[in-house]
């Protein structure tokens, strides 16, 4: 009786095994399957297609059942610039360890190296994408993961290039550990909510390192955005969390560490803005908490464009920026408190670590430069220092209630 049970047990488990993990189909020059398409058409759901090292000249690979595509030693899939390479039309698909290159360019269809359409539970990981139009393109997909991919484009102009990782109407996507270089927008999100974008590096892109619009409740953590044509732009979104990101060396007249437009109820905490022309450009953003950020050596640490209310800036470091703050109106509804300003020249007689004289972050010169941009050439001139000083003593052009009442005497350690 006992052995009988045992056999049933064994049978049951092997069946379970079979259905859950499927069988392995190998693809290589000398294997049963010579092409990936062929393997996919023969595969049953939940099979693993193991692609051995080699070059596969294929495009329009459509995955229409839940499969795992696993590359061994980075096999190359060469699309020969003919069109889209892999599109996923099934749930629970995993694509892992492939080297995909030569995606076709089209101005009517956005060809991508990998596209997911209206599916869920996919994992796209450890891919190398090269010579591409769009890299990873998710359309109305959700609950997926994009992990540790390397996207290397060759974009030169904005109009004829695509984005590295693009999300459109997606939900609950996790993007972690990817590197995106030399494409138009490194990571692009539109109408995508509840996404987690963590530990990515996006640099040397033609336009934005990160670009999102109408995407609410997203988390951006520990990413690095460096030397992008226009930095990072985030628009028309709510409840965004940006923690511990680095925005570095985004130079140019329309280049920003972060461009915030119509962002509400968000948190920007613990980020580093280093050497950007404009650290944060703020327009029409309300109720945002800026805390523990480091603004280091930027042209303008923060530039206000207008319609910004009830933002709070506290415990930030403003270190050696050419301008700490540019403000375009005399009204101020934003709060600055407990920040460290490297150009603060006050004293601390009661030794509580906070300056006894309030600091005025907006200088008259930043007002003048706002009006006549050419005057930037007089930056750090003695005359400018003199007029800045007289403005500091009695503010006429700059908002007189824009004060940090508790400027710190020593830089805060925000790490």
């Amino acid at each position: 009786m006992k052995t009988h049970y045992y056999i049933i047990y064994l049978l049951f488990f092997s069946f379970l095994n079979f259905s859950a993990f499927g069988q392995n189909l190998e693809v290589c020059n000398s294997c049963e399957y010579k092409s990936i398409k062929e393997a996919i058409s023969k595969a049953k759901p939940h099979d693993i297609i193991l692609i051995k090292k080699g070059v596969y000249k294929e495009y329009n690979i459509i995955i229409d059942k839940p499969l795992t595509l696993l590359g061994e030693n980075y096999p190359i899939i060469d699309g020969e610039n003919k069109g889209e390479i892999i599109s996923i039309h099934a749930d629970s698909v995993t694509v892992d360890g492939l080297h995909i290159k030569n995606v076709g360019t089209s101005y009517t269809e956005d060809y991508a190296a990998i596209r997911v359409v209206k599916r869920r539970d996919f994992v796209i990981q450890n891919l190398k994408l090269e010579k591409l139009f769009f890299g990873i393109y998710l359309e109305k997909a959700n609950h997926g993961k994009i992990l540790n991919n390397e996207v290397l484009g060759d974009a030169v102009e904005e109009y004829n290039s695509g984005n590295g990782i693009q999300l459109w109407y997606c939900k609950n996507i996790e993007i972690d550990g990817n590197t995106v270089m030399n494409v138009r927008d490194g990571i692009y999100l539109e109408f995508s909510d509840f996404c987690k974008i963590t530990n990515n590096v996006s640099k040397d892109n033609v336009r934005y390192g990160l670009h999102f619009m109408f995407s609410n409740d997203d988390l951006y953590e520990n990413n690095r955005f460096e030397s992008n044509g226009a930095g990072v732009a985030v628009m028309f979104s709510k409840r965004i969390k940006m923690y511990g990101n680095v925005f570095k060396d985004n130079w140019g007249s329309a280049s920003y560490g972060v461009l915030l437009k119509e962002i509400n109820d968000s948190e920007i905490i613990g980020n580093t803005f280093d050497g950007n022309t404009i650290g944060i450009n703020i327009e029409g953003t309300n109720r945002i908490i800026y805390k523990n950020n480091d603004f280091k050596g930027n042209g303008w640490a923060i530039k206000f464009r207008g319609a910004c209310y009830a933002n709070s800036f506290s415990h930030n470091n403003f270190l050696y920026n050419s301008f700490d703050l540019a403000y375009n109106s005399k009204l101020n509804d934003n709060k600055f408190d407990h920040n460290y300003w490297s150009s603060y020249a006050g004293y601390d007689l009661d030794k509580d670590g906070e300056g006894d004289v309030p600091y005025r972050p907006v200088k008259l010169f930043s007002y003048i430069v706002n009006r006549t941009p050419e005057t930037i050439i007089l930056l750090r001139s003695l005359f400018i220092d003199i007029i800045d000083f007289s403005e500091k003593v009695s503010p006429v052009f700059t908002p007189d209630n824009l004060l940090d009442n508790h400027p710190q005497m020593k830089p805060l350690s925000n790490d």
């Binding site: 050497g275 006549t372 930037i376 050439i377 003695l382 005359f383």
Partner: protein, 260 residues
């Protein structure tokens, strides 16, 4: 000429003022570095000091030296020495001793601080180079003023006025004209405007290193070419050299024609 240069140089090296000047910079460097403990901040403060103080001291010192050594100059003129070598020698003696005080005074504390290990070495070198340029320029201008004015008080007055004009008033007028004509394209005008003032020029040269991210914030194509490439650096250095050469030439011309 070399002999005169040497004489002026040693004369100044023995004088109290070079030591005061040297110790002032030494103290400044030490205070900035060891009490502040931050290199980037120190470089910015130094830039402000160099841009305002170096021209002032160059002018005052140059005028002072000329008037003080006037009798000796007249004695020399009685000897069979070329006029050019007397005056150029004196000029170089003053300018070089001032530059030496500057370079040693600021250089020593920075060397002890460990500038050679730091990435700020180029910013710092640039500061010293512009400081030297400014010393050369303003001493030459001072000699010109002193040569054209027999009256000491007048000479000092003009020298201080010159400094005040170039350090402060020029920028004021410049700013006013930029704001006044803001409806016109001004990028070329503003660049050319800086060329006519050695203080502005050295400021730009340093800004190219320190504040390049802010300078690139302006949209003009001319600005972009000037600041975004090496062109700005090359042009500024060339024009600064012209600012040394032309006043020196005028010293020579004035000295040759002047009645003593």
């Amino acid at each position: 000429m070399l002999k005169i240069l040497k004489y002026s140089f040693y004369d100044l090296m023995r004088s109290r003022w070079s030591y005061v000047y040297f110790f002032f910079y030494l103290l400044l460097g030490i205070v900035l570095l060891f009490l502040n403990n931050n290199l980037s901040k120190a470089v910015i403060t130094l830039m402000n000091v160099i841009i305002t103080l170096v021209p002032l001291i160059g002018t005052i010192f140059g005028v002072m030296y000329y008037y003080n050594s006037k009798e000796f100059t007249e004695l020399l003129l009685a000897q069979p020495i070329k006029r050019t070598s007397i005056f150029i020698g004196q000029y170089l003696g003053v300018a070089l001793s001032l530059s030496m005080s500057l370079i040693l005074g600021l250089g020593l504390p920075f060397v002890f601080y460990g500038i050679f290990m730091s990435s700020a070495i180029w910013d710092f070198t640039l500061l010293l180079v512009t400081g030297t340029f400014l010393t050369l320029i303003f001493t030459a201008l001072a000699f010109n003023i002193a040569l054209s004015n027999e009256n000491k008080i007048k000479g000092f007055g003009y020298a201080i006025l010159l400094w005040l004009f170039l350090a402060v008033i020029y920028d004021g007028i410049f700013l006013m004209s930029l704001v006044f004509f803001e409806d016109y394209p001004l990028d070329k005008f503003s660049l050319i405007g800086t060329m006519f003032n050695p203080i502005d020029l050295s400021r730009i040269l340093i800004l190219l290193k320190l504040d390049i991210s802010a300078l690139l914030g302006y949209t003009g194509a001319v600005f972009k070419q000037f600041f975004g490439t090496n062109l700005g650096f090359i042009i500024s250095t060339t024009v600064l050299s012209l600012w040394v050469i032309i006043p020196t030439y005028f010293i020579k011309r004035k000295a040759e024609r002047k009645d003593f």
